[in-house]
């Protein structure tokens, strides 16, 4: 079977609801299937990449630390919507996790090149 491309679009803030964690769990599950995995942070999802998260103050686990483990799972195609960073006063250099900034055209190409897309 030729490997397939699964793209995951993270569009939710990290702690206000459980979607960010739910999407990350999907990504980690997919990673063991030896396919091509893309992870893209868009819209409010870019907040997941903010530095200095200390969610122990609200009895939650650090999602950005979990994101740091992605390379161990061979999830290396990590992208972030440049516009979303910009709108929120974030810069690609000041993120907790390495992610390639991309524009609308590149995002469109990511989606068009995918077999399946999951957004949460």
């Amino acid at each position: 079977m030729t490997p397939k491309t699964l793209t995951f679009i993270a569009r939710s803030t990290p702690y206000g609801n459980g979607r960010a964690k739910a999407l990350l769990d999907m990504v980690l599950s997919a990673a063991v299937f030896d396919q091509t995995i893309n992870l893209l942070f868009m819209d409010d999802g870019v907040w997941q990449l903010a530095r200095n998260q200390q969610p122990a103050t609200i009895d939650a686990k650090d999602l950005s630390a979990a994101l740091g483990a992605l390379p161990l799972y061979d999830v290396n195609n990590v992208y972030v919507e440049a516009r979303a960073l910009d709108e929120r006063g974030l810069t690609p250099q000041a993120l907790a996790v390495d992610a390639k900034p991309c524009d609308d055209t590149e995002i469109a190409a990511l989606i068009a090149g995918s077999d399946q897309v999951f957004a949460l």
């Binding site: 989606i111 897309v117 957004a119």
Partner: protein, 94 residues
């Protein structure tokens, strides 16, 4: 092969605006659930994008389509299924 983009929220900022920016010519748009509230005030669509709206959800909410000039095609649930099959993949921008 093209993508079907599905919108199910009334608030344009939750999905529609992002989705419109990353659509390609040949892609499809489908408004369902509270997404049908956007039907009357849909912004200009990218080139060669076909837009659809789920009939059952329109009727449930008492929403009338903008009339003759509308570029929106209504589909029922069977049409929804056909769209999902016709496009290569779907993205739910919820």
């Amino acid at each position: 092969m093209s993508t079907l983009h599905i919108i199910n929220k009334a608030n344009a900022s939750q999905g529609l605006s992002s989705c419109l920016r990353v659509m390609l010519p040949g892609d499809g748009l489908l408004l369902i659930e509270d997404g049908v509230y956007l039907a009357a005030q849909l912004p200009a669509l990218p080139e060669a994008v076909r837009a659809h709206v789920l009939q059952e959800d329109l009727q449930a909410r008492g929403i009338a389509l903008p009339g003759e000039g509308s570029a929106l095609f209504t589909v029922d649930y069977a049409g929804f299924v056909a769209l999902v099959c016709a496009y290569a993949r779907s993205v739910s921008w919820s």
